[in-house]
Each structure stands twice: as C-alpha cells, then as structure tokens.
Amino acid sequence: MILVFGEEFERDVTYELVALAKRLGDYKVVVSEDFDDIDGDVIRVERLNWKVVKELHDRFKPEGVLFANAPSGMDLAPKLAGITGIPMVTNVIKLENGDRFKATSLTYGGKVLVDLEVDKPSIFVVNRGYYDPNEGRGTPKVERLDLDFEDDVELIEVVKPEEDVDISKAEVVVSVGRGIGDESNIELAKELAELLNGVVAGSRPIIDQGWLPKSRQVGRSGKTVTGKVYIALGISGATEHVEGVKAKNVIAVNTDRDAPIFRIAKVGVVADVNELLPVLIEKLREIKS
C-alpha cells in the first residue's frame, strides 16, 4: 500500500501525488483540508504534523510513502526518515513499483539524473510537473480520523508579500539570474522589459541579494509565470526555478550551452548576457523609433 501525504500549503501538487500513487498500487491519501475531488480513499485529519504522519505510518505500514517537494512535504518527509530510519529519495521525477522501487531523481542543479533501486518500505519526495494532476481527480471516499496531536511547531501568522506587479499574470517577463553579474546590469533588463512591454523578474540569487523585491521571484518559492514569453537572462535553470516557468515560449540566454534552462527553452542563445543586452537594446530602440 502507498500512503500519500497531501501538501498543506500548495494543494494542486497533491493531485499529482495521487496520479503517481494510482500507478504504484493501492493507496490512501492523507489531507488536512477539504478536497472534494481526490480520487480514492482519503483520510481527513485536523492537522498534518510529524506526529500524525508517524502515527499513520505505524498504523498502515505502507510499502511506500509519497510527499511533495513543497513546503510541508520537505519538512515531514525527512523527519519521518530520521525517526524510522527507512530510506528516503528526494527530487523524484519517476517512480515504479516492483520487488524494489525504481526511482529516478533529478539532481546537481538539474544537470544529472540518477536511477536508483530502493528497498521497501521507503519515502519519496516527488518533484512537481511530472504527473498529470487530472489523473488524480475523481470521487473521494473520505474517512475522518481524530488525530489531533500537538506539534512542536505552531503556525501563528501567514504574511502575504506586498505586490507592485503580479508577474504571474504578465504576458512578457524578462527575468535575470546570477549571470547578470552586477546589480547595475539589472537596469539593462528593465530597459529590455520596457521595450517589449513586459515586466522584470528574477531567480532566487537575485532576490537573495536584495536586487529585486520578493514579489518578483520566479520559481518554487516565488511565482509561476504563465504568460506568452519568458526571457531568462543568465539563469542556469535549477529545478526550483524551472518549476515556476509555465510560459508558452521560453527564450534563454546563457554562456553555458549545457545549462539546464535550455531544456525548457524554445530558443536558446549561447552568449554573455551583459555583452548581448546593450546591442540588443540598441537594435530594439532603433526599430521603436
């Protein structure tokens, strides 16, 4: 039996886990919020914390446990592995069931895949975007369990970011990464965005540096861009970043022709973004004038 722990803070990914679980065998899905269209046996608990996870793991003794590579799953999965000592695989993009599990993990910043064979029971933290969430939708059979264990971690406040622009809704997003080199070069990206009637955004290292506000972050921890064009300037394309790129057309500029960002790009440009941008901007200015 496969035990799926739904994601508390990012609900949609739960359906992807269910889609995967259906391929692996019998399964139960544990959630702490109301889901009215999860396919299969659903266990509704009041809250999801490591004590609840441990209790249900001990109760059902699953051969495999699935968590999402998301805020809740990334906390609960390793805790369970630490307590129980059972094997744990992260960044899973493919999983098959047999005498042992066969898992594929995407690692080294998206540059390497590793095929693994894993003993049962085991824990898997699954990346987003590899299983169709629609396959996880259907009719639930809900059982409520009173497992209200107090946790050593208590949520006291949720803070939403102040937004100047909603990059998730912008049709054209010009996004900068570490390859931009210096904060002053962000002005070039802003100018390009302006010429293309778009908005400027950035990858995690740019936000960490404080060069752009948090509301402009693209990726797992930030926003998902869904517009017409995403222009990635000097962004390597780590898994956490590309999870947030769902634009219809991706144009990527990077000096490293093996950069993972090129795997999601329609057009790739092998160049130093700081050399390319001034020339490109000049040409666009000429056209505009």
Binding site: F9, P71, M74, D75, P78, K79, A81, G82, T84, G85, P87, M88, T90, K102, S105, T107, Y108, G109, K111, V112, L113, V114, D115, L116, E117, V118, D119, S122, D152, V153, E154, L155, E157, V158, V159, K160, P161, V172, L196, D208, G210, R220, S221, G222, K223, T224, V229, F262, A265, K266, V267, V269, V270, A271, E275, L276, V279, L280, L284, I287
Partner: protein, 250 residues
C-alpha cells in the same frame, strides 16, 4: 543560547562536473550555497540573542583538507563564529540518513542548529530534517528569518511569496533557504587572516551502513530539440530581434 551552524562543500557546477555511470567527478568544490545562507542567518541570530555560535564543517575523509572546506570555516570565523569544528566522515556516502546518524552525537548540546535546506548534490534525503528526527528535535525547513522573544519565532516560505511565522520549541534544527539579509562579503585579506588565526577542532566519525538505496547509474538528461543560436553578439542580437518579431513583441 547555544547556536550551531553546519557548513558543507559541494561540486562547483560552474567549473563543471564529469558524469560517469557510477559516479560524479567534480573538478572543484565550493561551499554549499544554502549552508552559506544558514551561516549568515546564524550570525544574525547570534547578533540578536548574544548567543554563542559554533560552526561545524562536515566533510568526507578524502576532502578533509580541501580548500573549499577551509574557506567555508574561515568565512565563518571572519563573520564572528566563536568556535569551529570539523567532523570528518570516515567514508563517502550520498545517503543523508547515514550522515545524520554519524554526526548526531555531536549535535546534542545546541538550542538551535542552522543548516542549508539542501545541497545541490543531494538525492537521498535532507540532512537537517533527518537529523532532527534522529535527535528528537523540532524541525522547520524553508527558513528565511529567525527571531527570539523568549521563544523561537521562525519565518518559513510557504510558496508563492507567502511566508508563515511559526513558534518553534527548542532544541530545534532549522533548514535555511535564505538568510534574512544578503550574505556579508568578506574581503580576501580578512579571509586569509582568518585562515591563519582560526583553530579548528577535528573529530573523526564512523558512517554506519544503513543500505536500502542502490545507485544504478548517473546520466545526463536528454536534451530536447531547441533552436540554439551561437555566434557573435551583433548576429545574435539580429536573430533575437527576428524571434521577437515572430512573437509579435516588436
């Protein structure tokens, strides 16, 4: 307040790696970026609480003298760490359960331990979370800020730019994703001075064999067919303008 911070080294992806079926061969190592954020946050937390900060490097035996580990510890010293340790794992392992069990005894006396939420070479566990399970400590990952009001208040990313504030019982391990301030730059002169002055207690530990995960092969992901433009900058800019025109952007 006894504060611990873990620093590790990882393959430098900018310098490149060689992907062999049985192993990944790095050309160079660098301090793990998320651990650098954990260290920075630990320094911030020391400043806030007046606590004592001990920084612990964790490294495989074959890399015990690698300059990246020396650099990571020297950075910690230069930023104000009160003491430094280096835990040397007697054998290399990709399995974070094994690392957590090997080092657990040395993390029993802290109130708060900060560690990068993950390292770029991981595929078998997150060290901080697993260590918390082994020790029975509280754990929060995705941490972007830590405060103290007599108890621990932790800010954690919940996705989509939303942050949750959590009250966390100590002792706790915190998986840091970003420090609340940009990483402080340490000038080369200060770094070299730190390398000369710092004293590092070395501890060797045995890594248990827990089994259960077998690597079949490492390989490069398939490269999808894309239009890849190469050439001089003038030529590339012209081609990009044509791409923009085809998308009705200009």
């Amino acid at each position: 307040m006894r504060i611990g911070a873990i620093v590790r080294i990882v393959p430098d992806l900018v310098m490149g790696i060689e992907i062999e079926e049985s192993e990944i061969v790095p050309f160079k190592y660098v301090p793990n970026e998320r651990d650098e954020h954990a260290l920075e946050e630990a320094v911030v937390f020391k400043e806030k609480t007046g606590g004592n900060l001990e920084v612990v490097g964790i490294v495989d035996d074959e890399l015990r003298d690698d300059e990246a580990m020396e650099e990571a510890l020297a950075l910690a010293y230069a930023k104000g760490a009160d003491s430094l340790k280096k835990i040397v794992l007697n054998r290399r392992t990709f399995d974070r359960r094994e690392v957590a069990r090997a080092i657990a005894d040395h993390f029993k006396d802290y109130d708060v331990v900060m560690v990068g939420i993950q390292s770029i070479d991981s595929f078998a566990g997150y060290l901080g979370g697993i260590l918390s399970g082994v020790l029975g400590y509280s754990y929060v990952g995705g941490v972007v800020g830590v405060d103290y009001d007599g108890g621990l208040i932790v800010q954690k990313e919940l996705g989509g730019g939303v942050v949750g504030k959590f009250r966390v019982k100590t002792p706790a391990i915190l998986g840091v994703v970003s420090a609340e301030r940009p990483i402080t730059f340490v000038p080369l002169v200060k770094l070299r001075q730190a390398m000369k002055e710092m004293k590092v207690e070395e501890i060797e530990v045995e890594v248990p064999d827990m089994g259960g995960i077998e690597v079949v092969r490492f390989y490069e992901p398939e490269k999808p067919e894309i239009t890849l433009l190469e050439g001089d900058v003038e030529e590339l800019a012209d081609k990009l303008v044509e791409v923009f025109k085809s998308l009705s952007l200009v």
